[in-house]
Amino acid sequence: MNAQMERYERQVMLDEIGEEGQCLLQKARVLIVGVGGLGSPIAIYLAGAGVGTIGLMDDDTVSLTNLHRQVLYTEKEVGQPKVFHARERLLSMNSSINVQAYNERLTKKNAQDRVADYDFVVDGTDNFATRYLISDTCAAMGKPYIYGAICGLEGQVGVLCAGSATYRTLHPDEEDTLGMPHPGRQVVGVTPAIVGSVQASQVLQLICHYGEPLIDQLWTIDLRTMQSFIIKLSEHV
């Protein structure tokens, strides 16, 4: 095993991954939209696992209120753009991968161009509108959308645009959804840590083809009770 493969030794030992899975990871291209609470663990674990090309998209800067959950950043980066530090942090952990940083929001104008360069899109966003945009773009371009969202002590994950369900299956009425009052910004750091890690795990499953990823399904977790459900979003699962 060469030095490059040595870092992956512990995961290559898994039957579900093996050397074949590691090669698939190396070839995979994953776009993470939003590198905040969810995006931090998603990016860290995918970079660690050796996903060959990772795109990071966010136009936000680091603030002090981010630090309790956005584990990519430190006090030194407060006030500075997130994506560049996120890129540096990932490359300092794994210099063998390629990380692209886009210091911009996903918009109707750039969505197709950005998504075209990737095989999977992972959700680290913090609003309904961008999720509709990711879903519509992924559905049109045939790219799986690894959805995740949190609210306080609750979270949910699903693999959309890979079977028949999209974000519109979950939230059919866009106008109603966008018209809802903002649920507030209260959250503990462990909520996105858990939910983002589940999203990263789904990406690994999809790339390496193991287990039963949450295609057309929604996994939910309530961290008050640890109650968890898997809900079918289409007739086909």
Partner: protein
């Protein structure tokens, strides 16, 4: 009759999902309901019956990240 909502027993007089939503004064937006782990679109709540022992899951819309 008794049903369960998120694994907790609940007594209700409602016989449809929309009746239950009214009885519980659920908000008009932002709640999804699944029966037997299958999502029921809001447009079908009126014609979706609930009966003794129905297992129901209620999920709040989430948009944080």
């Amino acid at each position: 009759m008794e049903i369960t909502i998120n694994n907790k027993p609940v007594t209700t007089a409602a016989t449809t999902l929309s009746g239950l939503a009214a009885e519980m004064a659920l908000p008009a937006k932002g709640i999804a309901i699944a029966i037997n782990n299958k999502m029921i679109p809001r447009t079908e709540w009126e014609v979706t019956d609930i009966s003794e022992g129905t297992h129901l899951v209620m999920i709040k819309a989430a948009c944080g990240g």
